[in-house]
């Protein structure tokens, strides 16, 4: 980080390589679009390059990247309301070449997550991709811990219900009535 601060391109390149997996994946799971995710991830790293002097430590860097990526993704989702992705379309958007057992279920889970409103989606992604505890999620998203726990509980309940029921006809055309409303 010190060398990157001194303006060494190779050092900044190392920072990018170290963190791009996390940043890109956060963006991808939030936006469900490979191109938009790459665009957002590039923006985040450009922002990092401009604001590198404000980063205090490697731990702060990780926190900063997560926070900026998720918040920017939330802003994009709120700014450009997009038609809810149907289960079939969402499943085809993200193809993970290293699928393990039960690849269809994993795709279905990703598709269901993509239908969540921005805030609970962010909570779920930070929990299950980044392995953050509720307190860390609350700090990253500037939410109360109770709100984080509420989002987790309701989203998991919805996922269990949807996995159990299968796709109901009509869900996927509108978020209202299919998934819990976003709460502050």
């Amino acid at each position: 980080m010190t060398r990157a601060l001194a303006g060494e391109p190779a050092a900044f390149g190392m920072l990018v390589r170290t963190h791009q997996r996390s940043v890109y994946s956060l963006a991808l799971r939030m936006l469900s679009d490979r191109h938009e995710a790459e665009d957002l991830a590039q923006e985040v790293f450009l922002g990092l390059h401009r604001n590198l002097s404000s980063v205090e430590s490697p731990a702060h860097l990780t926190f900063w990247l997560r926070k900026v990526t998720v918040n920017r993704a939330i802003d994009r989702l709120r700014r450009e309301p997009r038609p809810t992705v149907s289960l079939e379309d969402a499943a085809s958007l993200v193809i993970d070449a290293a699928e393990q057992r039960d690849p269809l279920l994993q795709r279905r889970l990703r598709a269901l997550l993509a239908q969540l409103p921005p805030a609970p989606r962010a909570v779920m992604v930070l929990r299950y991709q980044e392995d953050l505890n509720p307190n860390e999620i609350a700090q990253t998203l500037n939410m109360s811990i109770n709100t984080v726990k509420s989002h987790l509980k309701r989203s998991l309940a919805t996922l269990r219900e949807r996995l159990g029921d299968g796709a109901r006809p009509g869900c996927g055309k509108t978020e209202i009535g299919c998934l819990p409303d976003e709460t502050a």
Partner: protein, 193 residues
């Protein structure tokens, strides 16, 4: 005019001067906005863009652009007619952490004579608002103002002078300027009716 009428006129003039916003009374170059001091909220922002470029700094910047490079030459052409560029942009990690009163105080200046709104985009579900204004003096553009606000970000851009938006469009994809989705600048085909 008798004494009472003169006193009444004086009172009316005095009260008019009292209600004229200080920004207008003190305004120098047409198209210039009086921007609030955002230092208090800058500390809360996770990202800040604070740019104030007057004529001399714009000239200095132009001096460091290489006219032999087409991209630099294009930027030089854009800023050549400008007298000032002012940007305040703040991004926060929570919703509505900025005082809307400050943003509104800028909007109020744009309701003054000379300014007219070109575009007003208000997206209620996402709380995204973008207002674009132009200032004209004797029929010529002398300023541009953009106010964009979202729950976690607000941006004020004030460009003093005549800015060619089509030339700005031509810079898309360069210098970090996004590929814009503005309509093509080609004029419509003639009507053959």
């Amino acid at each position: 005019m008798n004494t009472s009428a003169r006193m009444l006129s004086a009172a009316l003039v005095t009260s008019w001067l009292a209600v004229v916003p200080p920004g207008i009374a003190a305004a120098g170059t047409p198209g210039t906005l009086q921007l609030p001091n955002f230092e208090a909220i800058a500390g809360k922002a996770i990202q800040t863009v604070d740019i104030s470029l007057d004529t001399s700094l714009l000239s200095m910047a132009a001096g460091f652009m290489d006219s032999s490079k087409p991209d630099d030459a294009a930027v030089k052409e854009i800023i050549g007619g400008l007298k000032g560029v002012y940007v305040r942009s703040y991004t926060f990690n929570g919703d509505f952490q900025y005082p809307e009163a400050d943003v509104d105080s800028v909007r109020k200046q744009l309701s003054q004579p000379g300014w007219q709104r070109l575009v007003a985009v208000h997206n209620s579900p996402g709380h995204s608002n973008v207002d674009i204004y132009i200032c004209t003096v004797q029929g010529r553009a002398s300023g541009l103002a953009i106010i964009a606000s979202q729950p976690r970000e607000f941006t004020i851009v004030n460009i003093v002078g005549s800015v060619d938006l089509q030339k700005l469009h031509q810079l898309q994809g360069k210098f970090g300027i996004p590929q814009m989705q503005l309509p093509d600048s080609k004029p419509p085909a003639p009507d053959n009716k």
